[in-house]
Amino acid sequence: MSEKFSNEKIFVKNIPEFENEQITPIEKDYYNVIAINTVITFLIFTVAYFISLNAFEFLRKIEFKLLLTVCYFVFWFFLFIYGWYAFKKRGYCFREHDVIYKFGLFEETVVLIPFNRIQHIALHQGIFSRIYGLASLQFYTAGGSTTDINIKGFKLEDAKKFKEFVSNKIEKIKSKEF
């Protein structure tokens, strides 16, 4: 290594800033899917709750049964509220070179994945999503499953469009890579 003098600047000026990008919120219809899923889980748990309250000896003996039941319903009430606000926090943005996904109510999270690091994309559609014509897009990288983001609640045609867009990008990048 030659000891040549260099004085490069560390922060590059005038580069795009992700925090200024317009974040597109998730389709409103997707909240219905979340609500349906929550209601189904709620029903299953509630049935199980009442059955076990009467079936097990040690639970039958509890004196503060009413309090417990009230707490149980309050818990679910907050879960519903949480679901709504957490839903409102979700949003995405496709830029020229990367995809941004924002989510999280108590801990705001931003995941950024450059297109030239995406290994492949998958389009998923659940049962309830199909009713509303929605789909989700999952992006896989070599960085590990913790950050392989799964953006839910696209309109199906949008999802297909974005998938096409990103796939083309990746294809183009692959051909230039060395």
Binding site: I10, I15, N116, G143, K176
Partner: protein, 500 residues
Amino acid sequence: MEDIKASVIERFSNFRKQSALGTFIFFFESIRKNILNFIIVLFPVFQGKYTVALFIFIVIFIWYGSASFIKYYYFTYSFDFSKSEFLVNKGFLKKTKLSIPFEKIQQINLNQNLIHKIFDLYEIQMDTAGSSSTEVDIKAVSKKTADDFKIISQIVKKNFDSKSTKKNISESINKSLKINLITLVKAGLTSRYFETLGLITGTIFVLFQYLDDLKIDYADRLKNVLFDTNYTINFILLIVLIIITFVLTLNLITTVIKFFNFSAKKKSESLEIEFGLIKTRSIILSPSKVQEFRISQNWLQKQIKIREIRINQASSDESSASNNRNTIKVPGCSLDQKNELFEFIYQKKTGQAIKLKPNIRKFIINFFCFSLTPSIIVTAIYLNFPLLKFSITPFLIIGYLSFTAFVNWRLYKNNELYFYNNFIKVKSGFWDINTKIIESYKIQSVVLTQPIWHKKYNLGNVTFLTAGGQIRVSTYKYDLLKKIVNNVLFKAEKTNRRWM
């Protein structure tokens, strides 16, 4: 050189078997793996039926023997140099055909276990990036073939790198890095205290479990021993001394055996690393596949000026990322050796940096959660319930509080983030100070998080993920982190270089 290459290409273009002696390797390996099955033999022996035992023994022996032979016989491999692929056929009933593109081969390792040494054979490991099921090992080849593989690995790399000849190849320096026995002893005596201690504790628990399984009642006797002993200061000191000596000896022995005769030879485009006393490992590392460069040094090592280096390559699954064969360890490096290694891998120096420190709230929160709260809870129990009424309890609480406060303070003090033109570096740790360095353009993704209670303080966390290791810092100035993320993304998106 070209002649040799041509002849190697010709020879390896046809499917070939492993060394016939490989049958023995397979045999010993399957015996080693299934050693527990041989316990069956013991039952008739206990009953005095020696002929039955002998019969069962022979059957098992023949079974594994023929299985090993079949395994050897149906395993063939070749290279398709025109298509740049490595091909494997294997399996007797369930036949498998594998083809692995050269560009997916990360490195080729030559290993020798004890059995290999007896027969003068080598094991060849092909580490691939991708799912672990496609990892292919050739269990037994002769010395000549092993040497040929060194040439092949160069061809494989050439083939892949031919697309990337743009980068200036530094004049083929044939210098080598060697670590002598004295340095190894030093490294062995100063590292891995906590790991070894944990390992010993784990072993003791397994032993107890084992005694339990055998229905040996040790609990009463242990209780008697524990309660009857006279705990004088001298006695406790002796116990501590014994434990320390044991840990040190164990570390020393394992380090010396594992890394004996460590040498790293620089070839024009790769690093040939060799080490091991009983089991010799030989690794050919290509710098472009390196994802993370980690230096670890504790207070003692700082005094004698040595450090341990870990080089992480892209790994297929993160669970084994820390301790699998994609990690290369260099015990006991000097500062010069470290710099040399770093510059060889990255072809450049780090340059100027912007240094960042975490906010004091990192310490306050950790202190509150892990020191204060548990202490208060235990104190409350101590004062109100007879559960923990021992004379020693208050001392333990004070001891715990001051120790964890010290640990948290060190963790806070040692945490530093450096942002360079081409690198990101993080320092952290309590005893072993780890310094992780990743090249900015090799990131796979970035995750920024901000808990709502840190919003008004403008604090946040960031994680940079690569294909082999990640860098995470928490409670830093969020604006600066965002700026760094923008710059790192810019680096990653601008380049056309592959990340491996």
